[in-house]
Amino acid sequence: MKTSPSRRLLVVACGLIYFFLMLPLLVVFPISLSSAPYMQFPPPGLSWQWYERYLDDPQWIDATWRSLYIGGATAVLALALGVPLAFALVRGKFFGRILIDRLALAPVIVPTIILSVAVYGLFAKLKLIGMWYGLVIAHTVLALPFVVLVIGAGLRDFDRSLEQAAEGLGASRWRTLARITLPLLRPSLVSAGLLAFISSFDEVVVALFMAGANMTLPKKMFDNIMMEIDPTIAAVSVMQILLVSIVLVLIGRFGRGLKDSAR
Protein backbone atom coordinates (compact mmCIF):
# COMPACT_ATOMS: atom_id res chain seq x y z
CA MET A 1 0.00 0.00 0.00
CA LYS A 2 1.28 3.43 -0.88
CA THR A 3 1.75 5.65 2.14
CA SER A 4 0.71 9.24 1.62
CA PRO A 5 2.79 12.05 3.16
CA SER A 6 0.00 12.92 5.60
CA ARG A 7 -0.21 9.29 6.69
CA ARG A 8 3.54 9.26 7.29
CA LEU A 9 3.20 12.43 9.37
CA LEU A 10 0.46 10.73 11.42
CA VAL A 11 2.64 7.69 12.03
CA VAL A 12 5.56 9.87 13.18
CA ALA A 13 3.32 11.90 15.49
CA CYS A 14 1.85 8.73 16.97
CA GLY A 15 5.32 7.34 17.49
CA LEU A 16 6.13 10.36 19.61
CA ILE A 17 2.87 10.06 21.55
CA TYR A 18 3.53 6.38 22.22
CA PHE A 19 6.99 7.37 23.41
CA PHE A 20 5.33 9.83 25.82
CA LEU A 21 2.98 7.06 27.04
CA MET A 22 5.68 4.46 27.52
CA LEU A 23 8.49 6.71 28.77
CA PRO A 24 7.56 6.63 32.47
CA LEU A 25 7.21 2.86 32.32
CA LEU A 26 10.57 2.42 30.66
CA VAL A 27 12.55 4.85 32.77
CA VAL A 28 12.05 2.88 35.98
CA PHE A 29 13.85 -0.17 34.58
CA PRO A 30 17.36 1.34 34.44
CA ILE A 31 16.83 3.22 37.71
CA SER A 32 15.81 0.04 39.51
CA LEU A 33 19.10 -1.56 38.48
CA SER A 34 21.23 1.41 39.45
CA SER A 35 24.34 0.92 41.56
CA ALA A 36 24.25 4.50 42.80
CA PRO A 37 23.17 5.03 46.43
CA TYR A 38 20.68 7.70 45.35
CA MET A 39 18.60 8.59 42.35
CA GLN A 40 20.94 9.13 39.43
CA PHE A 41 20.38 8.95 35.71
CA PRO A 42 21.82 7.39 33.73
CA PRO A 43 22.90 4.89 36.38
CA PRO A 44 26.66 4.69 36.83
CA GLY A 45 26.57 0.92 37.11
CA LEU A 46 24.24 -2.05 37.48
CA SER A 47 23.28 -3.87 40.65
CA TRP A 48 20.40 -5.77 42.22
CA GLN A 49 20.68 -3.80 45.46
CA TRP A 50 17.23 -2.18 45.28
CA TYR A 51 15.51 -5.47 44.62
CA GLU A 52 17.41 -6.97 47.53
CA ARG A 53 16.40 -4.10 49.73
CA TYR A 54 12.77 -4.65 48.76
CA LEU A 55 12.94 -8.37 49.44
CA ASP A 56 14.75 -7.91 52.75
CA ASP A 57 12.31 -5.36 54.09
CA PRO A 58 9.43 -7.10 55.89
CA GLN A 59 7.35 -3.94 55.55
CA TRP A 60 7.47 -4.11 51.74
CA ILE A 61 6.83 -7.83 51.68
CA ASP A 62 3.92 -7.53 54.13
CA ALA A 63 2.42 -4.75 52.08
CA THR A 64 2.77 -6.80 48.91
CA TRP A 65 1.08 -9.86 50.39
CA ARG A 66 -1.68 -7.72 51.84
CA SER A 67 -2.34 -6.09 48.47
CA LEU A 68 -2.35 -9.48 46.76
CA TYR A 69 -4.93 -11.05 49.04
CA ILE A 70 -7.04 -7.93 49.24
CA GLY A 71 -7.00 -7.84 45.43
CA GLY A 72 -7.90 -11.53 45.26
CA ALA A 73 -10.71 -11.19 47.78
CA THR A 74 -11.99 -8.10 45.96
CA ALA A 75 -12.04 -9.98 42.65
CA VAL A 76 -13.97 -12.88 44.21
CA LEU A 77 -16.48 -10.65 45.99
CA ALA A 78 -16.92 -8.33 43.01
CA LEU A 79 -17.64 -11.32 40.76
CA ALA A 80 -19.96 -12.94 43.30
CA LEU A 81 -22.03 -9.77 43.56
CA GLY A 82 -21.44 -8.26 40.13
CA VAL A 83 -22.25 -11.25 37.93
CA PRO A 84 -25.78 -11.73 39.35
CA LEU A 85 -26.25 -7.96 39.19
CA ALA A 86 -25.24 -7.91 35.52
CA PHE A 87 -27.71 -10.75 34.85
CA ALA A 88 -30.48 -8.82 36.57
CA LEU A 89 -29.67 -5.60 34.72
CA VAL A 90 -29.41 -7.19 31.27
CA ARG A 91 -32.15 -9.80 31.52
CA GLY A 92 -34.47 -8.69 34.26
CA LYS A 93 -37.56 -6.60 33.86
CA PHE A 94 -38.40 -4.75 37.03
CA PHE A 95 -39.24 -1.38 38.40
CA GLY A 96 -36.21 0.90 38.79
CA ARG A 97 -33.92 -1.18 36.58
CA ILE A 98 -32.43 1.89 34.88
CA LEU A 99 -31.94 3.61 38.21
CA ILE A 100 -30.09 0.59 39.58
CA ASP A 101 -28.01 0.49 36.40
CA ARG A 102 -26.94 4.09 37.05
CA LEU A 103 -26.23 3.33 40.69
CA ALA A 104 -24.03 0.36 39.80
CA LEU A 105 -21.90 2.53 37.52
CA ALA A 106 -21.86 5.55 39.85
CA PRO A 107 -18.68 4.54 41.75
CA VAL A 108 -16.62 5.36 38.64
CA ILE A 109 -18.31 8.73 38.18
CA VAL A 110 -18.29 9.91 41.77
CA PRO A 111 -14.75 11.20 42.46
CA THR A 112 -12.78 8.61 44.40
CA ILE A 113 -11.79 11.19 46.99
CA ILE A 114 -15.46 11.70 47.92
CA LEU A 115 -16.09 7.98 48.15
CA SER A 116 -12.93 7.55 50.23
CA VAL A 117 -13.76 10.30 52.67
CA ALA A 118 -17.35 9.12 52.99
CA VAL A 119 -16.47 5.48 53.58
CA TYR A 120 -13.65 6.56 55.90
CA GLY A 121 -16.18 8.45 58.00
CA LEU A 122 -18.45 5.43 58.24
CA PHE A 123 -15.66 2.90 58.85
CA ALA A 124 -14.13 5.07 61.57
CA LYS A 125 -17.46 4.85 63.32
CA LEU A 126 -17.65 1.08 62.80
CA LYS A 127 -14.00 0.65 63.90
CA LEU A 128 -13.14 -0.93 60.56
CA ILE A 129 -10.07 1.21 59.87
CA GLY A 130 -6.99 -0.93 59.35
CA MET A 131 -9.06 -4.08 58.80
CA TRP A 132 -8.23 -5.82 55.56
CA TYR A 133 -11.86 -6.78 54.92
CA GLY A 134 -12.90 -3.15 55.28
CA LEU A 135 -10.66 -2.38 52.32
CA VAL A 136 -12.03 -5.37 50.43
CA ILE A 137 -15.55 -4.00 50.83
CA ALA A 138 -14.57 -0.50 49.68
CA HIS A 139 -12.56 -1.90 46.76
CA THR A 140 -15.48 -4.09 45.76
CA VAL A 141 -17.68 -1.01 45.48
CA LEU A 142 -15.06 0.48 43.14
CA ALA A 143 -14.61 -2.72 41.13
CA LEU A 144 -18.33 -3.45 40.72
CA PRO A 145 -18.77 -1.13 37.69
CA PHE A 146 -15.99 -2.95 35.79
CA VAL A 147 -17.62 -6.30 36.44
CA VAL A 148 -21.08 -5.04 35.48
CA LEU A 149 -19.76 -3.44 32.27
CA VAL A 150 -17.70 -6.42 31.12
CA ILE A 151 -20.22 -9.13 32.07
CA GLY A 152 -23.10 -6.99 30.80
CA ALA A 153 -21.41 -6.66 27.41
CA GLY A 154 -20.81 -10.41 27.34
CA LEU A 155 -24.44 -11.12 28.20
CA ARG A 156 -25.81 -8.72 25.62
CA ASP A 157 -23.82 -10.54 22.93
CA PHE A 158 -24.95 -13.91 24.24
CA ASP A 159 -27.00 -16.02 21.86
CA ARG A 160 -30.00 -16.93 23.94
CA SER A 161 -31.14 -19.64 21.56
CA LEU A 162 -28.31 -21.72 23.05
CA GLU A 163 -30.01 -21.59 26.44
CA GLN A 164 -33.37 -22.35 24.89
CA ALA A 165 -31.80 -25.29 23.09
CA ALA A 166 -30.35 -26.60 26.35
CA GLU A 167 -33.69 -26.28 28.12
CA GLY A 168 -35.50 -27.87 25.22
CA LEU A 169 -33.04 -30.77 25.41
CA GLY A 170 -33.96 -31.37 29.04
CA ALA A 171 -31.62 -29.18 31.10
CA SER A 172 -33.06 -27.37 34.10
CA ARG A 173 -32.44 -23.63 34.58
CA TRP A 174 -29.50 -24.30 36.90
CA ARG A 175 -27.93 -26.95 34.73
CA THR A 176 -28.26 -24.64 31.74
CA LEU A 177 -26.49 -21.92 33.71
CA ALA A 178 -23.73 -24.29 34.83
CA ARG A 179 -23.23 -26.20 31.59
CA ILE A 180 -23.95 -23.59 28.92
CA THR A 181 -24.20 -19.98 30.06
CA LEU A 182 -21.28 -19.68 32.46
CA PRO A 183 -18.82 -21.75 30.39
CA LEU A 184 -19.60 -19.58 27.38
CA LEU A 185 -19.21 -16.41 29.46
CA ARG A 186 -15.83 -17.56 30.73
CA PRO A 187 -13.80 -15.03 28.71
CA SER A 188 -15.87 -12.20 30.17
CA LEU A 189 -15.57 -13.68 33.65
CA VAL A 190 -11.79 -13.91 33.33
CA SER A 191 -11.51 -10.31 32.12
CA ALA A 192 -13.85 -8.98 34.79
CA GLY A 193 -12.09 -10.85 37.58
CA LEU A 194 -8.62 -9.74 36.51
CA LEU A 195 -9.74 -6.13 36.06
CA ALA A 196 -11.30 -6.19 39.53
CA PHE A 197 -8.07 -7.61 40.94
CA ILE A 198 -5.86 -5.01 39.27
CA SER A 199 -8.18 -2.14 40.20
CA SER A 200 -7.85 -3.14 43.86
CA PHE A 201 -4.14 -3.93 43.64
CA ASP A 202 -3.43 -0.45 42.20
CA GLU A 203 -5.85 1.47 44.38
CA VAL A 204 -4.31 4.25 46.50
CA VAL A 205 -6.86 6.83 47.53
CA VAL A 206 -9.16 4.62 49.58
CA ALA A 207 -6.18 2.77 51.02
CA LEU A 208 -4.62 6.07 52.02
CA PHE A 209 -7.55 6.72 54.32
CA MET A 210 -8.40 3.27 55.48
CA ALA A 211 -5.35 1.06 55.59
CA GLY A 212 -4.19 2.47 58.93
CA ALA A 213 -1.02 0.80 60.09
CA ASN A 214 -1.64 -2.23 57.89
CA MET A 215 -0.35 -0.77 54.68
CA THR A 216 -1.09 -1.97 51.21
CA LEU A 217 1.56 -1.79 48.54
CA PRO A 218 0.26 1.43 46.92
CA LYS A 219 -0.07 3.11 50.33
CA LYS A 220 3.48 2.12 51.23
CA MET A 221 4.65 3.48 47.87
CA PHE A 222 2.75 6.72 48.38
CA ASP A 223 4.31 7.25 51.80
CA ASN A 224 7.78 6.51 50.46
CA ILE A 225 7.38 8.91 47.55
CA MET A 226 6.20 11.60 49.95
CA MET A 227 9.17 11.03 52.24
CA GLU A 228 12.14 10.30 50.01
CA ILE A 229 12.71 9.33 46.46
CA ASP A 230 14.65 6.15 46.79
CA PRO A 231 15.20 3.70 43.94
CA THR A 232 13.54 0.90 45.93
CA ILE A 233 10.34 2.33 44.51
CA ALA A 234 11.74 1.86 41.03
CA ALA A 235 12.30 -1.81 41.81
CA VAL A 236 8.75 -2.11 43.16
CA SER A 237 7.46 -0.28 40.08
CA VAL A 238 9.23 -2.69 37.75
CA MET A 239 7.58 -5.61 39.51
CA GLN A 240 4.23 -3.88 39.38
CA ILE A 241 4.60 -3.25 35.62
CA LEU A 242 5.56 -6.87 35.07
CA LEU A 243 2.54 -8.06 37.05
CA VAL A 244 0.20 -5.85 34.99
CA SER A 245 1.83 -7.14 31.80
CA ILE A 246 1.18 -10.70 32.91
CA VAL A 247 -2.43 -9.87 33.72
CA LEU A 248 -2.89 -8.22 30.32
CA VAL A 249 -1.40 -11.28 28.62
CA LEU A 250 -3.80 -13.48 30.61
CA ILE A 251 -6.74 -11.34 29.56
CA GLY A 252 -5.58 -11.47 25.95
CA ARG A 253 -5.16 -15.22 26.11
CA PHE A 254 -8.17 -16.34 28.17
CA GLY A 255 -10.35 -13.26 28.47
CA ARG A 256 -12.66 -11.36 26.23
CA GLY A 257 -10.53 -9.52 23.66
CA LEU A 258 -8.90 -6.30 24.78
CA LYS A 259 -10.42 -4.49 21.84
CA ASP A 260 -13.90 -5.69 22.75
CA SER A 261 -13.62 -4.28 26.23
CA ALA A 262 -12.88 -0.87 24.75
CA ARG A 263 -16.37 -0.63 23.42
Binding site: G168, L169, G170, A171, I180
Partner: protein, 334 residues
Protein backbone atom coordinates in the same frame (compact mmCIF):
# COMPACT_ATOMS: atom_id res chain seq x y z
CA UNK B 1 -51.89 -39.79 19.25
CA UNK B 2 -53.43 -36.41 19.16
CA UNK B 3 -52.03 -32.97 19.89
CA UNK B 4 -53.98 -29.83 20.36
CA UNK B 5 -52.68 -26.29 20.21
CA UNK B 6 -55.54 -24.19 21.38
CA UNK B 7 -56.72 -20.66 21.79
CA UNK B 8 -53.63 -18.54 22.12
CA UNK B 9 -54.35 -14.84 22.19
CA UNK B 10 -51.17 -13.76 20.34
CA UNK B 11 -52.28 -16.46 17.99
CA UNK B 12 -55.91 -15.86 17.23
CA UNK B 13 -57.80 -19.00 18.21
CA UNK B 14 -55.34 -21.35 16.64
CA UNK B 15 -56.13 -25.01 16.81
CA UNK B 16 -54.03 -27.72 15.25
CA UNK B 17 -53.67 -31.45 15.50
CA UNK B 18 -50.73 -33.48 14.33
CA UNK B 19 -51.09 -37.20 13.80
CA UNK B 20 -48.56 -39.77 15.00
CA UNK B 21 -45.69 -40.07 12.52
CA UNK B 22 -46.90 -37.20 10.42
CA UNK B 23 -44.85 -34.29 9.10
CA UNK B 24 -46.92 -31.15 9.36
CA UNK B 25 -45.58 -27.90 7.98
CA UNK B 26 -46.58 -24.53 9.30
CA UNK B 27 -46.20 -22.17 6.38
CA UNK B 28 -46.54 -18.42 6.56
CA UNK B 29 -44.83 -15.11 5.94
CA UNK B 30 -42.70 -13.58 8.67
CA UNK B 31 -44.87 -12.12 11.39
CA UNK B 32 -47.65 -14.59 10.72
CA UNK B 33 -47.31 -16.07 14.21
CA UNK B 34 -45.71 -19.34 13.20
CA UNK B 35 -42.65 -18.81 15.37
CA UNK B 36 -44.82 -17.84 18.35
CA UNK B 37 -46.81 -21.00 17.84
CA UNK B 38 -43.60 -23.02 17.82
CA UNK B 39 -42.35 -21.33 20.99
CA UNK B 40 -45.62 -22.09 22.74
CA UNK B 41 -45.34 -25.75 21.78
CA UNK B 42 -41.69 -25.92 22.85
CA UNK B 43 -42.53 -24.12 26.10
CA UNK B 44 -40.49 -20.93 25.61
CA UNK B 45 -43.68 -18.85 25.66
CA UNK B 46 -46.69 -19.43 27.83
CA UNK B 47 -50.03 -19.20 26.07
CA UNK B 48 -52.56 -16.75 27.51
CA UNK B 49 -55.23 -19.35 27.07
CA UNK B 50 -55.66 -22.80 25.66
CA UNK B 51 -53.69 -25.99 26.01
CA UNK B 52 -50.88 -27.93 24.44
CA UNK B 53 -51.22 -31.69 24.57
CA UNK B 54 -48.83 -34.42 23.51
CA UNK B 55 -50.19 -37.95 23.37
CA UNK B 56 -53.30 -36.82 25.20
CA UNK B 57 -51.31 -35.48 28.15
CA UNK B 58 -51.45 -31.78 28.80
CA UNK B 59 -48.01 -30.15 28.88
CA UNK B 60 -49.03 -26.48 28.83
CA UNK B 61 -47.61 -25.82 32.29
CA UNK B 62 -44.45 -27.90 31.92
CA UNK B 63 -41.07 -26.14 31.53
CA UNK B 64 -39.32 -26.81 28.21
CA UNK B 65 -36.90 -29.17 29.92
CA UNK B 66 -39.67 -31.63 30.76
CA UNK B 67 -41.59 -31.65 27.51
CA UNK B 68 -39.53 -34.24 25.65
CA UNK B 69 -39.62 -32.24 22.45
CA UNK B 70 -36.64 -32.25 20.10
CA UNK B 71 -35.99 -28.98 18.38
CA UNK B 72 -33.73 -27.83 15.58
CA UNK B 73 -33.19 -24.07 15.71
CA UNK B 74 -32.89 -21.69 12.81
CA UNK B 75 -29.18 -21.14 13.53
CA UNK B 76 -28.84 -24.71 14.90
CA UNK B 77 -27.86 -23.40 18.39
CA UNK B 78 -25.04 -25.90 18.69
CA UNK B 79 -23.07 -25.41 21.89
CA UNK B 80 -19.84 -23.88 20.61
CA UNK B 81 -17.73 -25.03 23.56
CA UNK B 82 -18.76 -28.69 23.29
CA UNK B 83 -17.60 -31.26 20.75
CA UNK B 84 -19.99 -32.85 18.30
CA UNK B 85 -20.28 -35.94 20.50
CA UNK B 86 -20.83 -33.84 23.65
CA UNK B 87 -23.50 -31.82 21.88
CA UNK B 88 -25.37 -34.96 20.92
CA UNK B 89 -24.82 -36.51 24.36
CA UNK B 90 -26.19 -33.40 26.11
CA UNK B 91 -29.91 -34.36 26.19
CA UNK B 92 -29.03 -37.87 27.36
CA UNK B 93 -26.85 -36.55 30.18
CA UNK B 94 -29.69 -34.27 31.24
CA UNK B 95 -31.84 -37.38 31.50
CA UNK B 96 -29.17 -39.11 33.62
CA UNK B 97 -28.65 -41.89 31.11
CA UNK B 98 -25.69 -44.15 31.94
CA UNK B 99 -22.33 -43.43 30.33
CA UNK B 100 -22.11 -46.60 28.23
CA UNK B 101 -25.62 -46.20 26.93
CA UNK B 102 -24.92 -42.57 26.08
CA UNK B 103 -21.91 -43.66 24.01
CA UNK B 104 -23.94 -46.22 22.09
CA UNK B 105 -26.82 -43.91 21.38
CA UNK B 106 -24.61 -41.00 20.37
CA UNK B 107 -22.76 -43.29 17.96
CA UNK B 108 -26.09 -44.48 16.54
CA UNK B 109 -27.41 -40.98 16.11
CA UNK B 110 -24.23 -39.75 14.44
CA UNK B 111 -24.26 -42.76 12.13
CA UNK B 112 -27.83 -41.95 11.21
CA UNK B 113 -26.85 -38.46 10.04
CA UNK B 114 -23.66 -39.82 8.43
CA UNK B 115 -21.26 -37.99 10.72
CA UNK B 116 -19.19 -40.93 11.95
CA UNK B 117 -15.64 -39.79 12.61
CA UNK B 118 -16.57 -36.21 13.46
CA UNK B 119 -17.16 -36.87 17.18
CA UNK B 120 -14.26 -34.80 18.49
CA UNK B 121 -14.75 -31.77 16.26
CA UNK B 122 -16.08 -28.49 17.54
CA UNK B 123 -19.10 -27.01 15.80
CA UNK B 124 -17.09 -24.18 14.25
CA UNK B 125 -14.90 -26.77 12.49
CA UNK B 126 -17.91 -28.08 10.57
CA UNK B 127 -19.59 -26.88 7.39
CA UNK B 128 -23.13 -25.52 7.50
CA UNK B 129 -24.63 -28.81 6.31
CA UNK B 130 -22.67 -30.78 8.88
CA UNK B 131 -23.74 -28.43 11.67
CA UNK B 132 -27.29 -29.00 10.56
CA UNK B 133 -26.82 -32.76 10.84
CA UNK B 134 -25.40 -32.44 14.34
CA UNK B 135 -28.39 -30.33 15.36
CA UNK B 136 -30.68 -32.98 13.93
CA UNK B 137 -28.85 -35.82 15.69
CA UNK B 138 -29.02 -33.92 18.96
CA UNK B 139 -32.75 -33.36 18.55
CA UNK B 140 -33.61 -37.02 17.89
CA UNK B 141 -31.09 -38.88 20.03
CA UNK B 142 -33.38 -38.92 23.08
CA UNK B 143 -36.39 -40.25 21.14
CA UNK B 144 -38.52 -37.15 21.62
CA UNK B 145 -42.25 -37.44 21.35
CA UNK B 146 -42.26 -34.57 18.90
CA UNK B 147 -39.66 -32.99 16.63
CA UNK B 148 -39.78 -29.27 15.88
CA UNK B 149 -37.84 -27.79 12.98
CA UNK B 150 -37.64 -24.00 12.89
CA UNK B 151 -36.63 -22.90 9.38
CA UNK B 152 -33.59 -25.15 9.58
CA UNK B 153 -32.56 -24.84 5.94
CA UNK B 154 -32.55 -21.05 5.68
CA UNK B 155 -28.77 -20.67 5.99
CA UNK B 156 -27.86 -23.32 3.41
CA UNK B 157 -27.28 -22.72 -0.28
CA UNK B 158 -29.84 -24.01 -2.70
CA UNK B 159 -28.22 -27.30 -3.64
CA UNK B 160 -27.34 -28.31 -0.11
CA UNK B 161 -30.78 -27.26 1.03
CA UNK B 162 -32.44 -29.67 -1.40
CA UNK B 163 -30.19 -32.55 -0.29
CA UNK B 164 -30.89 -31.84 3.36
CA UNK B 165 -34.63 -31.58 2.77
CA UNK B 166 -34.74 -35.04 1.26
CA UNK B 167 -32.51 -36.43 3.97
CA UNK B 168 -34.67 -35.04 6.75
CA UNK B 169 -37.73 -36.42 5.02
CA UNK B 170 -36.13 -39.89 4.75
CA UNK B 171 -35.05 -39.88 8.38
CA UNK B 172 -38.42 -38.70 9.58
CA UNK B 173 -40.19 -41.48 7.66
CA UNK B 174 -37.78 -44.13 8.81
CA UNK B 175 -38.06 -43.25 12.49
CA UNK B 176 -41.75 -42.45 12.30
CA UNK B 177 -41.09 -39.13 14.01
CA UNK B 178 -44.03 -36.87 14.56
CA UNK B 179 -42.68 -33.61 13.20
CA UNK B 180 -43.73 -30.00 13.01
CA UNK B 181 -41.76 -28.00 10.49
CA UNK B 182 -41.79 -24.24 10.19
CA UNK B 183 -40.96 -22.35 7.04
CA UNK B 184 -41.83 -19.33 4.95
CA UNK B 185 -40.71 -21.10 1.78
CA UNK B 186 -43.73 -22.58 0.02
CA UNK B 187 -41.64 -24.78 -2.29
CA UNK B 188 -39.91 -26.33 0.71
CA UNK B 189 -43.29 -26.94 2.32
CA UNK B 190 -44.58 -28.75 -0.77
CA UNK B 191 -41.47 -30.95 -0.95
CA UNK B 192 -41.45 -32.04 2.69
CA UNK B 193 -44.91 -32.17 4.12
CA UNK B 194 -47.68 -34.64 4.61
CA UNK B 195 -49.94 -31.75 5.45
CA UNK B 196 -49.50 -27.99 5.47
CA UNK B 197 -51.04 -25.44 7.79
CA UNK B 198 -50.94 -22.00 6.19
CA UNK B 199 -50.80 -19.18 8.73
CA UNK B 200 -51.29 -15.45 8.38
CA UNK B 201 -51.73 -12.72 10.97
CA UNK B 202 -51.97 -15.13 13.85
CA UNK B 203 -54.65 -17.33 12.40
CA UNK B 204 -54.61 -20.58 10.52
CA UNK B 205 -55.92 -20.06 7.02
CA UNK B 206 -56.09 -23.67 5.94
CA UNK B 207 -54.86 -27.07 7.01
CA UNK B 208 -54.73 -29.65 4.27
CA UNK B 209 -52.58 -32.03 2.27
CA UNK B 210 -50.03 -30.52 -0.08
CA UNK B 211 -52.07 -31.19 -3.23
CA UNK B 212 -55.17 -29.78 -1.66
CA UNK B 213 -53.38 -26.61 -0.58
CA UNK B 214 -52.09 -26.07 -4.09
CA UNK B 215 -55.14 -27.19 -6.06
CA UNK B 216 -57.96 -26.12 -3.78
CA UNK B 217 -56.84 -23.23 -1.55
CA UNK B 218 -59.45 -22.02 0.89
CA UNK B 219 -59.02 -18.30 0.30
CA UNK B 220 -57.14 -15.51 -1.48
CA UNK B 221 -54.23 -15.59 0.92
CA UNK B 222 -53.49 -19.28 0.55
CA UNK B 223 -53.99 -19.14 -3.22
CA UNK B 224 -51.63 -16.20 -3.51
CA UNK B 225 -49.00 -17.35 -1.03
CA UNK B 226 -48.56 -20.86 -2.41
CA UNK B 227 -47.40 -20.86 -6.02
CA UNK B 228 -48.13 -18.44 -8.84
CA UNK B 229 -51.73 -17.55 -9.34
CA UNK B 230 -54.41 -15.59 -11.17
CA UNK B 231 -57.09 -14.67 -8.68
CA UNK B 232 -60.32 -12.92 -9.63
CA UNK B 233 -63.55 -12.17 -7.83
CA UNK B 234 -67.02 -12.49 -9.22
CA UNK B 235 -70.56 -13.72 -8.61
CA UNK B 236 -72.19 -17.06 -9.41
CA UNK B 237 -74.70 -15.94 -12.02
CA UNK B 238 -75.95 -19.46 -12.78
CA UNK B 239 -74.86 -22.96 -11.71
CA UNK B 240 -71.39 -23.44 -13.23
CA UNK B 241 -71.01 -19.84 -14.38
CA UNK B 242 -69.13 -16.98 -12.75
CA UNK B 243 -69.67 -13.41 -13.92
CA UNK B 244 -67.06 -10.76 -13.31
CA UNK B 245 -67.77 -7.08 -12.80
CA UNK B 246 -66.77 -6.29 -16.39
CA UNK B 247 -69.50 -8.65 -17.59
CA UNK B 248 -67.18 -11.45 -18.77
CA UNK B 249 -68.30 -14.94 -17.79
CA UNK B 250 -66.35 -18.08 -16.98
CA UNK B 251 -67.41 -21.72 -17.10
CA UNK B 252 -66.46 -23.48 -13.87
CA UNK B 253 -67.21 -26.59 -11.80
CA UNK B 254 -68.77 -25.46 -8.58
CA UNK B 255 -71.62 -26.30 -6.26
CA UNK B 256 -71.90 -22.74 -5.02
CA UNK B 257 -75.44 -21.36 -5.16
CA UNK B 258 -76.37 -18.65 -7.63
CA UNK B 259 -75.73 -15.17 -6.31
CA UNK B 260 -72.79 -16.20 -4.13
CA UNK B 261 -69.69 -13.98 -4.16
CA UNK B 262 -66.79 -16.21 -5.10
CA UNK B 263 -63.05 -16.15 -5.75
CA UNK B 264 -61.62 -17.83 -8.80
CA UNK B 265 -58.12 -19.28 -9.05
CA UNK B 266 -56.40 -20.18 -12.30
CA UNK B 267 -52.83 -21.50 -12.04
CA UNK B 268 -50.61 -20.10 -14.85
CA UNK B 269 -49.46 -23.56 -15.97
CA UNK B 270 -53.04 -24.81 -16.45
CA UNK B 271 -53.63 -22.72 -19.55
CA UNK B 272 -53.61 -24.55 -22.87
CA UNK B 273 -53.73 -23.23 -26.45
CA UNK B 274 -57.51 -23.82 -26.36
CA UNK B 275 -60.25 -24.77 -23.88
CA UNK B 276 -63.80 -24.15 -22.73
CA UNK B 277 -62.88 -20.64 -21.61
CA UNK B 278 -60.85 -18.66 -24.12
CA UNK B 279 -58.82 -15.53 -23.40
CA UNK B 280 -57.18 -13.36 -26.02
CA UNK B 281 -54.79 -10.67 -25.00
CA UNK B 282 -51.73 -8.65 -25.79
CA UNK B 283 -48.39 -9.75 -24.33
CA UNK B 284 -47.24 -7.10 -21.88
CA UNK B 285 -44.18 -8.89 -20.66
CA UNK B 286 -42.51 -12.16 -21.52
CA UNK B 287 -39.78 -13.97 -19.65
CA UNK B 288 -37.79 -16.99 -20.76
CA UNK B 289 -37.37 -19.50 -17.91
CA UNK B 290 -35.66 -22.39 -19.65
CA UNK B 291 -38.42 -24.96 -19.39
CA UNK B 292 -41.22 -22.47 -19.96
CA UNK B 293 -42.22 -19.00 -21.07
CA UNK B 294 -43.84 -16.80 -18.51
CA UNK B 295 -46.23 -14.34 -20.16
CA UNK B 296 -48.26 -11.50 -18.80
CA UNK B 297 -51.33 -10.91 -20.96
CA UNK B 298 -53.60 -7.87 -20.95
CA UNK B 299 -56.98 -9.31 -21.95
CA UNK B 300 -60.28 -7.70 -22.83
CA UNK B 301 -62.30 -6.40 -19.92
CA UNK B 302 -59.16 -5.20 -18.07
CA UNK B 303 -58.18 -8.70 -16.94
CA UNK B 304 -54.50 -9.35 -16.60
CA UNK B 305 -53.36 -12.98 -16.78
CA UNK B 306 -50.16 -14.71 -15.83
CA UNK B 307 -49.62 -17.66 -18.17
CA UNK B 308 -46.92 -20.26 -18.45
CA UNK B 309 -46.36 -22.03 -21.73
CA UNK B 310 -43.96 -24.85 -22.50
CA UNK B 311 -40.85 -23.35 -24.08
CA UNK B 312 -41.36 -24.62 -27.61
CA UNK B 313 -40.85 -22.50 -30.71
CA UNK B 314 -40.17 -18.76 -30.61
CA UNK B 315 -41.19 -16.82 -27.51
CA UNK B 316 -44.10 -14.41 -28.10
CA UNK B 317 -42.71 -10.90 -28.00
CA UNK B 318 -44.29 -7.96 -26.19
CA UNK B 319 -47.17 -6.57 -28.21
CA UNK B 320 -48.02 -9.93 -29.85
CA UNK B 321 -51.59 -11.19 -29.52
CA UNK B 322 -51.94 -14.57 -27.88
CA UNK B 323 -54.96 -16.76 -27.30
CA UNK B 324 -55.12 -19.25 -24.43
CA UNK B 325 -57.81 -21.48 -23.06
CA UNK B 326 -58.64 -23.22 -19.80
CA UNK B 327 -61.13 -25.95 -18.93
CA UNK B 328 -63.61 -25.69 -16.04
CA UNK B 329 -61.86 -28.61 -14.24
CA UNK B 330 -58.68 -26.55 -14.02
CA UNK B 331 -60.38 -23.63 -12.36
CA UNK B 332 -60.78 -23.60 -8.60
CA UNK B 333 -63.68 -21.66 -7.10
CA UNK B 334 -63.68 -20.70 -3.40
Amino acid sequence: MAKRFGDVVALDHVSLQVAQGELLTILGPSGSGKTTLLKVVAGFETPDGGTVKVGGIEITALPPARRDIGMVFQNYALFPHLSVAANVAFPLEMRNVGRSEIDTRVAQALAMVELKGYEARLPRQLSGGQQQRVALARAIVFNPRLLLLDEPFGALDRKLRETMQLEVRRLQRRLGLTTVFITHDQEEALVLSDRIAVMNKGTIQQVATTTEIYERPANDFVADFVGESNIFHGTMSAPGTVTFDGGRTLQVRSEKPAGAKVGVLMRPERFAPSGANVFTGEVVESVYLGTSFKLRLACEGGLELLVRQPARGPMPAAGARVTVGIDPESIHVF
